[in-house]
């Protein structure tokens, strides 16, 4: 049993990790065919992961409803919404339109999901304005520099700002293309090196958190 839970996954990770790290540099048709086949497997597994995610969500909210935890009513609404949408989606084979006319699934998507998601993110603008008012204070020199840069970029990114202060557009372009790009590049390189290190640790079995057991 330990072999199936520990050794076998580690062996598969090692073999597949090494093979596909090398595959990138091998242009032979057999290598390309192997890549195509394994990617098709990945897509199939990805589809199963979707089912896993939904099942996990169902289970989590079922526990909340059964135990009558605070907010269990919302879990009930989630259940109802999910089951109804799945039922309608299956009934019309997942299509939003059929022969040019909107299906019930399309109606749920267009008149419920799209406005609800859009509204959720639209109200962020109000909270951002309130948060900016309360917390965007020049408490130190660095904060003052950040504040000035933010004001210039906010001005430079809108037509009114460029109309009132034409140079704000050029300064904004410089901040984004030079200062911002340099710093983001440094962060990206750091993240990428970290990802390479973590990948090597996973391939060689040093990092085993994905097995659920942690390092040994």
């Amino acid at each position: 049993m330990t072999f199936l839970r520990r050794q076998l996954p580690l062996l598969i990770t090692f073999v597949m990790g090494v093979v596909f790290a090398l595959q990138y540099y091998v242009p032979h048709p057999a290598s390309e065919q192997l890549l195509t086949t394994v990617n098709k497997w990945l897509q199939i597994i990805g589809g199963f992961a979707l089912i896993l995610g939904v099942t996990s969500l169902f289970h989590q909210h079922a526990v909340k409803i059964r135990r009558r935890e605070p907010g269990w009513g919302y879990s009930f609404v989630l259940y109802a919404g999910m089951l109804l949408t799945v039922a309608i989606g299956l009934w019309v084979n997942g299509k939003e339109t059929s022969n040019g006319t909107m299906t019930a699934f399309g109606w749920v998507y267009t008149y419920m999901m799209v406005p609800l998601q859009g509204t959720m993110f639209a109200i962020l603008a109000f909270f951002i304005a309130s948060a900016a008012y309360r917390s965007f204070r020049a408490r130190s020199r660095e904060a003052a520099v950040l504040l000035v840069a933010a004001v210039i970029v906010m001005m430079g990114r809108v037509p009114l700002g460029e109309h009132l202060l034409p140079i704000s557009g050029d300064i904004t372009e410089w901040i984004l293309n030079v200062l911002n790009a340099a710093v983001r590049r440094a962060i990206l390189i750091g993240i990428s090196l970290g990802a390479v290190a973590l990948s090597l640790k996973i391939i060689f079995g040093v990092e085993r958190a994905y097995l659920g057991g942690g390092k040994e």
Partner: protein, 287 residues
Amino acid sequence: MTFAERMVHIDRRIIFLVIGLCTLLPLLHPVGLAINVSPEVRAVHDYIESLPPGSAFLLSMDFDPASKPELYPQAVALLRHAFKRNLRVIGMTLWVSGTGMADQVISQVAREMGKTNGVDYVFLGWSPGVGSLIITMGQDLYKAFPSDYYNQPTSSLPVLRDIRTLRDVNYVVSLAAGTAGIETWYVFGKDKYQFELGGGCTGVIAPGLYPLLRSKQINGLIGGLRGAAEYEVLIDQRGLAVAGMDAQSVTHFAIIALVILCNAFYAVIRTHARRSGQERVGRVAEE
């Protein structure tokens, strides 16, 4: 409580009202200020202009309804431009929740431009896998999408004639609201299959993509609603994005004014606190 302290702790509903009015009024009474086009947006436009008619253009609409206000106008502008240039348009999405919206935008613009599904454009829809999907498309497009969104076999569609893999696509643009998006297309697609890649994204993630732009990993970037407005100006078809720029201008200035006011009140509070502290110390020393 002094006036400055009361203002610093102002009810946030007043701020919400100010922002609401700053967004609504310019939409009702537009001003129409000139919009300057940035080099990164012009780069995407000029590349599409340079493609000969019949070239394959893949538009990956990698966003969900939450990012519709910024990315939907970008998609409309790009599709109008591509159809005007008589390019063969291949639409798809890496985000399952954006499939319906992506289908709506491509169908709507195609109808407007008099284009035929299967002949001038195809909507492939969504397939699971993200990175592995892109790799599969790079190896064999018909294995990744055996049928399109309307269950038509892709291998029999005239629009996909001579297109076997991503190497045969002339230009790919990913309109991204996050991950999976432009970086995914670069890492799993362009780096291996060597097609030209451009990007469109929300304003929030645009600064993070400038390293890719500066190193020419993407040839252009349309950032946020401003980028969409610039593109509409370039194709001379002003739409939702240009209409939204006045509201965005006033809202930005409202936030700038609020931040400056807050800092002014904060400075007053600090000065007052310092003076009170000095007076107290002076009184204690005298005693």
